[in-house]
Amino acid sequence: MIRLEGVGKHYPGAARPAVDGIDLLIEEGRTCALIGPSGCGKTTTLRMVNRLIEPSSGRIVVAGRDVTAADPVKLRRGIGYVIQGTGLFPHLSVAGNVATVPRLLGWDRARIAARVDAMLGLVGLDPALFRDRRPASLSGGQRQRVGVARALAADPPVLLMDEPFAAVDPLERGRLQREITEILRRLRKTVILVTHDLDEAIRMGDTVAVMRDGRLVQHDRPDQVLAAPADAFVAEFLGSDRALRRLTLLTAAAACRSGERPPEGAPEVPAEASLQVALSILLGSGAEALAVVDGGPRPVGTLSLAAIRALAAGLPDPSGAVARSPPLV
């Protein structure tokens, strides 16, 4: 759990605070994507959590402990940290990099070696092939995987990530986003992910926190933010295609009227496909409804264009299709 209470940062000599009284609660095991235009204070907010920057005001609680009362060096060993350029140590092997925090914590050699291999496996790098390589010989995506493995090596409950995939090529980025999200969910890490990429925020965040000029303007589930932007700024930041983006968050199975027989000759859509895919099929075929199929003998239900339209507009959702995470408190 990470809780920010009235947290502010006023850099000396700056005309106005870079971060201005932020309240933010991220529940245990959840990822919060912190998003907003460049210079709005995302990085400053993130770096106050592990006290790389000292807050000017407010309180930050991580895993039940007030970070401002902790010894910063010890505190940081218990908080994973991933940055854009990865900051891998070029003079150490991949294994040496991943072993960094366990070494700082004084683990014994055997435990560290086993942990390094486990971590590399976790992020999809074969330990036998990668253990002894140098960061300079890796691709951008591989480096970022090592960066994540390094951050998770000592099993911190909390992870801070600052634009971790910004330097990775788009194809690899999508793959990384999916894989890392899956890992973080499975390990129940509490994560703050700073990004300026809306797709990344939606893909990876259980919640999205939108910042503007040092203030938090909205914090909600991605579908809620897309459906109901708090103000004109957020709406503009999300873009006029936000209704379409929202459809990527919902599956055909969750949005269809289950049990209802589709019209004769209706095109099929896989149950786990997103509504964006379903909409594309509908528009492409000119049909009014789709048969949602899951490989069983008969369709699981019917998905109509009208239902998609209603969901995209963020209308009350009778089927409860938007249920990726429980409501925020």
Binding site: V73, R76, G87, P90, H91
Partner: protein
């Protein structure tokens, strides 16, 4: 040439003396420049002072500096050592500071974020990454000190400079050439061997190919 062959033992002794002098000067310079450079890398004001002084000192001719030191220190090996060290110290300090400042900021940020203490970060991250540039500074300093040490014979340093000065006063051309060639060879050898070490170190730190 004839002189050098007939007086091989004299030449060898002068060379060894020269090496010993430079070795001591280099060790003393390093012992001062390393901590001073580390400090300067962290304190912008000190860094500015070191940079300015190093630049200024470098433009003072070695002989002039040594002459200025004579009234303070007198003549002999000790004062010569002080003179050589003071002439090259700031150059080495500047190199150490620059080397540390060139360590990429994102690497330092990552180190801080993972919970390195200041001392540990210096030993495990900054110095290893700065090592090739620091070594380049040591190489430049060694070469500089080998040449400056010949001039330091003027205030009693001994070594190859002695042969040169003696040769000049005795109007003995061969002796001058022997001393000069030996000093040059020494400088070239130091430069080349340290350069090789530097390349190896550069590969080891993984910063440059």
């Amino acid at each position: 040439m004839v002189w050098a062959i007939e007086n091989g033992d004299v030449l060898l002794e002068a060379t060894l003396q020269h090496l010993a002098l430079v070795g001591q000067a280099l060790a003393i310079s390093l012992a001062i420049a390393l901590p001073l450079g580390i400090l300067a890398a962290r304190r912008p004001r000190l860094h500015g002072v070191v940079m300015a002084l190093a630049g200024a000192l470098y433009t003072v001719p070695a002989l002039a500096l040594f002459a200025l030191l004579v009234p303070l220190m007198g003549l002999g090996q000790g004062p010569a050592l002080v003179a050589i060290v003071s002439y090259s110290l700031l150059v080495l300090t500047r190199n150490v500071a620059v080397a540390l400042r060139e360590v990429p900021a994102d690497i330092l940020d990552a180190a801080d974020g993972m919970g390195f203490s200041r001392g540990r970060r210096l030993l495990r991250v900054e110095l290893p990454l700065a090592a090739p540039v620091i070594l380049a500074g040591i190489r430049l300093t060694a070469v500089l000190q080998i040449s400056v040490a010949t001039v330091a014979a003027f205030i009693g340093a001994g070594g190859l400079g002695d042969l040169i000065f003696q040769g000049i006063t005795q109007d003995h051309g061969d002796k001058v050439v022997a001393g000069a060639v030996a000093a040059s060879l020494l400088a070239v050898a130091a430069d080349e061997s340290l350069r090789r070490l530097e390349t190896r170190l550069r590969l080891a730190t993984g910063l440059a190919g």
